[in-house]
């Protein structure tokens, strides 16, 4: 399997992800902001009208904002009608899937240039309303109907993982600590405070001191959401948007001398309910999608030098690093504890802070990962730059792995 025509990213932009900063803005305004930044990032200039199609990842602005038909809204607000505009909904993998479709659109010969974006404006609703909205990504008839929420599905997954591999919650805490540390180096991140600083701040309010990060994370200031997952095992509720501009390889140099090639893509599905699977500790859709992406890019797991993986919950990062072939099954948590996935480790995972610290405006996440890889592979990631990386990977997961989108990127 391959593409008839290669595709590269020539520009990328994103808003900061945050829950309060964008209170006065709607999703369309966030998306315009991200797209304008993407346009401005194109080295040799780009006009929005040069795009032949728009693919938009959006989970449920219908619920979050009372606005449906979002691809049309965005095309209108970018001022580029009558551009073909497509909304893609694969839950939390919506814009990763949109990116894969954008690549296919160019590879098919239908168009030379595509804008792919994602947006979610979540913060207008309260916690219970957001919990209800996110649960739509699970099986309404057979999971949420018996009391499952979205975090609790991953809590259940973690319980099975702990049992199978004799793993511990401390390994999950290592993911939290690492990703928050990375977030302090990313000006686009929702949280830019490490766990040590957060522990001091929250402890001070309460007249308590914590001798280390783990002591704080084990305390009642980090309450259980769905056991064994605590608040700091969960990504926050964020508003934000991201956009990339894709161009066919044969014309990419019109736009930049340093494009980032989408060397391989993969997309796979799995049962909507976690209970329908034979093993709850692996996401088969990740395994299949990455197998296809590696084959298309002609690379192996050991060739990947930096990766953004879908850490909506800490356990999801651990499982992802195993399913992607980076570490043996049952070893992902220990690898994190040993610092192997840290910014200065052998394979930096989520150098931008991941969903955990960067934030997870659901529909924007897949493209925000591509944004990060575009910056990393061009050496423009700033303080969280991983030195000298040429091959990167993004893994974007919908719900508990019923949809997975993967891309392998290579410096052009």
């Amino acid at each position: 399997m391959g593409l008839y025509r290669g595709v590269s990213i020539v520009g990328a932009g994103m808003t900061r992800f945050h829950n309060k900063l964008h209170a006065d803005k709607t999703g369309r305004e966030l998306f315009v902001e991200a797209t304008l930044e993407a346009t401005a990032s194109v080295d040799k200039g780009f006009r929005l009208r040069e795009a032949g199609a728009l693919f938009l990842g959006n989970f449920t602005s219908d619920i979050f904002e009372g606005q449906g038909h979002t691809a049309a809204v965005m095309a209108d607000w970018l001022g580029i009608n009558p551009i073909p505009a497509f909304r893609v909904e694969d839950a939390c993998a919506s814009s990763g899937a949109a990116l894969n479709l954008g690549v296919m659109a160019i590879a098919s010969g239908m168009t030379d240039v595509v804008i792919v974006g994602g947006v979610e404006k979540m913060s207008r609703l309260n916690t219970e309303q957001v919990t209800d909205a996110l649960a739509l990504a699970a099986d309404t008839s057979y999971e949420t109907s018996v009391g499952f929420t979205f975090p609790s599905i991953y809590g259940a997954l973690a319980s099975a993982y702990f049992r199978k591999y004799n793993a511990t919650w401390d390994q999950l805490a290592a993911v939290t600590i690492k990703n928050h540390r990375n977030g302090t180096l990313n000006p686009k991140a929702h949280f830019q405070s490490d766990i040590r600083t957060t522990a001091n701040k929250l402890g001070e309010k309460d007249g308590r001191t914590f001798k280390n990060e783990l002591e704080f994370l084990r305390s009642d200031l980090n309450p259980i959401v769905a056991s064994p997952l605590r608040l700091f095992d969960c990504c926050p509720v964020s508003d934000g948007a991201a956009a990339v501009i894709l161009a066919a390889d044969d014309i990419a140099r019109r736009y930049t001398d340093t494009p980032v090639k989408v060397a391989g893509i993969g997309q796979a599905s799995d049962t909507i309910a976690l209970h329908s699977r034979s093993d709850f500790t692996t996401l088969k859709a990740t395994v299949k999608a990455v197998k296809d992406a590696y084959a298309m890019a002609d690379v192996k797991p050991k060739d990947i030098q930096v990766a953004d993986v879908h850490d909506c919950f800490t356990i999801a990062e651990v499982v992802a690093t195993e399913d992607l072939g980076f570490f043996p099954y049952g070893q992902g948590g220990r690898a994190t504890e040993e610092g192997r996935t840290a910014l200065n480790g052998e394979l930096p995972i989520n150098p931008d802070g991941g969903l955990k610290a960067k934030g997870h405006p659901v529909g924007a996440t897949g493209v925000a990962m591509a944004y990060e890889m575009f910056k990393q592979l061009r050496g423009q990631a700033g303080k969280h730059q991983v030195e000298g990386v040429e091959i990167g990977l993004a893994q974007n997961v919908g719900a508990a792995g019923a949809s997975v989108a993967v891309q392998v990127f290579r410096r052009g």
Binding site: D132, T149, A156, S159, I224, V225, A226, P228, A273
Partner: protein, 124 residues
């Protein structure tokens, strides 16, 4: 015989029956019922009644519930691998939900919830 729908499945749950489908072609059994076999894609399926006993394979204590489960919080929800093979999600009706652990033997029970019935499990 009735159709393989969510409504019919839920009706059986209310009656205290855990029903799925069995593929006449490959023998695969499924819960909930399906119209198309997920293993061989045959449409030759028949109703199959589960005994309702199994082992808890995944469990979590929910402290931040959805709106419909607000009044039950905290509660345990999990996945039980039925002795016949397939597994299904259910609400755990146990005295100390926070102590529930993977590996427990469980038995299916319908849990009354106003007009509706929730698929639940209790200790075997």
């Amino acid at each position: 015989m009735s159709e393989f729908t969510t409504k019919v499945f839920n009706g059986f749950v209310t009656q205290g029956k855990l029903m799925g489908t069995r593929c006449k072609s490959c023998g695969e059994i499924h819960i909930p019922p399906r119209r198309i076999c997920s293993k061989c894609n045959s449409q030759q399926l028949e109703w199959f009644e589960f005994k309702g006993e199994g082992t808890l394979e995944a469990v979590t204590l929910v402290r931040v519930p959805s709106s419909k489960f607000r009044n039950r919080s905290p509660y345990a929800v999990g996945i039980v691998r039925l002795d016949e093979g397939p597994s299904i999600s259910g609400l755990m009706k146990v005295d100390k939900p926070e102590t529930l652990e993977v590996g427990e033997r469980m038995r299916f029970i319908p849990i009354k919830d106003g007009e509706k019935t929730i698929l639940g499990f209790k200790f075997l």
